[in-house]
């Protein structure tokens, strides 16, 4: 009888606390950052022209380097926000930064680079956005970390601040190089 009373009072309490815990956790989640199914898979194939010299570039350029592939566009405001960080970290030679210029006007893109700085080794141009679909891009800026074998190891969605670099991306890159 006593046990029954304990359950009758305790069980709803437990359920209530469980739901509160679940909702509490929900507050700290970021639903806009959708996990990428491409993590630990080879980078998708692409064949895109270089913004500055029109030479064709492919996913084979990723082999042999740790790469930070940054998807940006001159119309993207958050991209301008992260550019100073990218320029600063491009001094580090343990990895290369490749740009993917997403659905952009080429003249605007070149002007934008002059204004905000060019941290990129090379920049591939995806004017249709089809290649970006292969990368699962849904909002610029997005940044992928790719290892020396061309396998995607990490994806960061949103602008990279110095804090994000130190706390999140740098440890990932250092582990790979």
């Amino acid at each position: 009888m006593r046990l029954f009373k304990l359950i009758r009072v305790g069980l709803p309490m437990m359920i209530f606390l469980g739901v509160m815990l679940l909702l509490w956790r929900g507050l700290t989640l970021h639903p806009a950052q959708i996990p990428s199914p491409l993590i630990n898979k080879p980078a998708p194939q692409y064949r895109l022209p270089n913004l500055l010299n029109k030479k064709m570039m492919t996913e084979r350029d990723l082999i042999g380097h740790v790469t930070l592939l940054n998807v940006w566009a001159s119309w993207c405001e958050a991209c301008a926000e992260e550019q100073s960080t990218l320029v600063a970290i491009s001094q580090n030679k343990n990895f290369q930064i490749i740009g993917l210029d997403y659905k952009d006007n080429l003249a605007d893109a070149k002007k934008w680079l002059q204004q905000y700085g060019n941290p990129y080794e090379v920049i591939a141009v995806d004017q249709t956005g089809n290649s970006a679909i292969d990368w699962g891009v849904y909002g610029t800026p997005e940044t992928f970390v790719i290892d020396k074998k061309g396998i995607i190891r990490y994806k960061y969605i949103g602008p990279i601040s110095m804090e994000v670099w130190e706390d999140t991306l740098r440890p990932v890159i250092e582990k790979l190089s």
């Binding site: 959708i34 996990p35 990428s36 199914p37 956005g129 089809n130 990368w135 699962g136 849904y138």
Partner: protein, 127 residues
């Protein structure tokens, strides 16, 4: 006056027609497939809209992608797999049935069942 009204209506209908009929399908079956697929896939930019309704540029690109794949003879499953490979299960409004989502599918029924059993037990005891 009547003629003006008539012309006005004609122009109005023409614009409606133009807005809806961007994609030309060879069969009505393909057209229904397109409508079905775009309404069951989530737009990743504005996450509470499907790909059919969203005005986000990415939704437009994905509509185009789905249209092309239908035209080149891909099955519904192939098209859905193509998108899930790139964007993950998040793009599906209807989550798949697998080990990771089994709780999602069964928990409501388990809760309902335990609630009903408790209710029955309680009523019986009261009598």
């Amino acid at each position: 006056m009547r003629i003006i009204l008539f012309l006005f209506t004609m122009v109005f209908f023409l614009s409606c027609y133009a807005a809806e009929d961007i994609y030309h399908f060879s069969s009505t079956e393909d057209q229904t497939r397109f409508a079905m697929l775009t309404s069951e896939l989530r737009c990743l930019v504005c996450q509470n809209q499907n790909i059919a309704e969203s005005n986000a540029p990415l939704a437009g690109d994905l509509r185009q992608q789905i249209f092309q794949q239908i035209q080149t003879g891909h099955s519904n499953q192939e098209i859905v797999d193509f998108l899930v490979d790139r964007y993950g299960n998040f793009i599906l409004y209807r989550p798949p049935f697998n080990a990771g989502t089994i709780g999602l599918w069964f928990l409501p029924f388990i809760l309902l069942f335990s609630g009903i059993s408790y209710l029955v037990y309680y009523i019986r005891k009261k009598r």
